[in-house]
Amino acid sequence: MTVSGPMSCREFSARAGAYLDGALVGPDLERFEAHRDRCGSCRAGLAELQAIAGAARRLRLPAGAGDSRAVQLFRDHGLHAPRPRIANLPLGIGNQTAARGDHIAFLWDSEAEFAATADFLATGFARGEAGVLVGHEPGNTRILAALTSRGANVAELTRSGLLVVESRRGTAEALLAAVDGRIKAAVDRGLSGVRVLGNLSFGSPDVETLRLEALVTDAVRLYPNVVLCAFDAARVTSGALGRDAFQCHPMVLQRGELRESEAYVPAPEFLADLDRGT
């Protein structure tokens, strides 16, 4: 709203808050300042408001008593808190068992092995766990088809919220938040676990994918879930994909064997390297 002409004392009062916030600009500001310079009582009133704001800055809130309790929560529940890895969850691929919180790079060699990622999800459904499928459309479609061919009722699983498909979008944090929300929702429903199947890395991984992969490891550690990321083994050996598969995943599944990744780099270091462009 822009009104021309001199400002009244009433309008001056109504605009004082905006003025003190630095939110008056242009003609409004000029008219406000003109009135202030002209009207002694409004000028004094404004100065009083400024004095109140300035004096209030000298007040302080009493220090809280709960600091130590919050820090203890951080120690007990922080994502970094070390936990023993107990591998007792059937992975559904080969006869391997995974542990809660595992983030696994699955290097598949053949179409049959890729389709076996559907067994990973199907094994979870049979155990009363939820499944989240994250990735590019073509890969998602293939995995859903493989699930169907294994007798799973994809429509029913989706309707009941047991199966959720998230397509790749936005920033790493946005996708992570979406997956995180899915996992929390499943846990809140009382499901015993969540299996996340990622097939993000069909092309060369972009920076956002690498950031996501690095962040996922710590983010999922708290929850009763297993994250399995599928990689075409033939392409992993050539450069950038290898960095994603081996450096971002603490565990690697290849040729039926689940092992720790020797090249794994913890997220803070990995992200720092990524920021430096190395």
């Binding site: 808050g17 408001l49 004096a55 800055r57 009493p62 951080f74």
Partner: protein, 194 residues
Amino acid sequence: MELERIQALRRGDEATFAALVAELDPILRRAVRTYVSSPAVAEEVIQETWLGVIRGIFAFEGRSSLKTWVFRILVNRAKTRAVRESRTVPFSDLDADPTDEEASGPLVPVDPGRSAEDALIADEAMRELAVAVESLPPNLKMVLTLRDVEGWSSEDVCNALGIRETHQRVLLHRARSRVREAMRPYLGREGRRA
């Protein structure tokens, strides 16, 4: 700076977390009592808030400032609890830890300096100012405390409380005007309005 702090929290840096708690705990304690009356429930909400921070830090997108995000978690949980609490008699008041009451106690004036706001910074005036702020209705008190006592930006306050900027400004102006009326004897002039 802010990003470094978030990254430190993500990698589990306890000193960074402790500093964040020390910084925000007082204002969180004040804010929670705007929504829930029982000190025991307030304490629970505070603890739930920090747990929410610990669990959510990986998914925090940094769209708002860190302190605003923490504050939002608190406000959301406090509101949820307030709804539940309003349907029950707050028995927990009776067996609350007395230090909780103290922790969310009244504003206290810092030792006043000499440079500015000369009419207001005398000891007695500062005590009166604290009382005047305490006497504000909860919403006005919250906005004035965040803006003027804690020095938060308008944007942060809007995000933290989930209100629009114009609304925030009206609340702040109203709060300051009310405090000014209460402080009139110390301001040394009578009856003018701005």
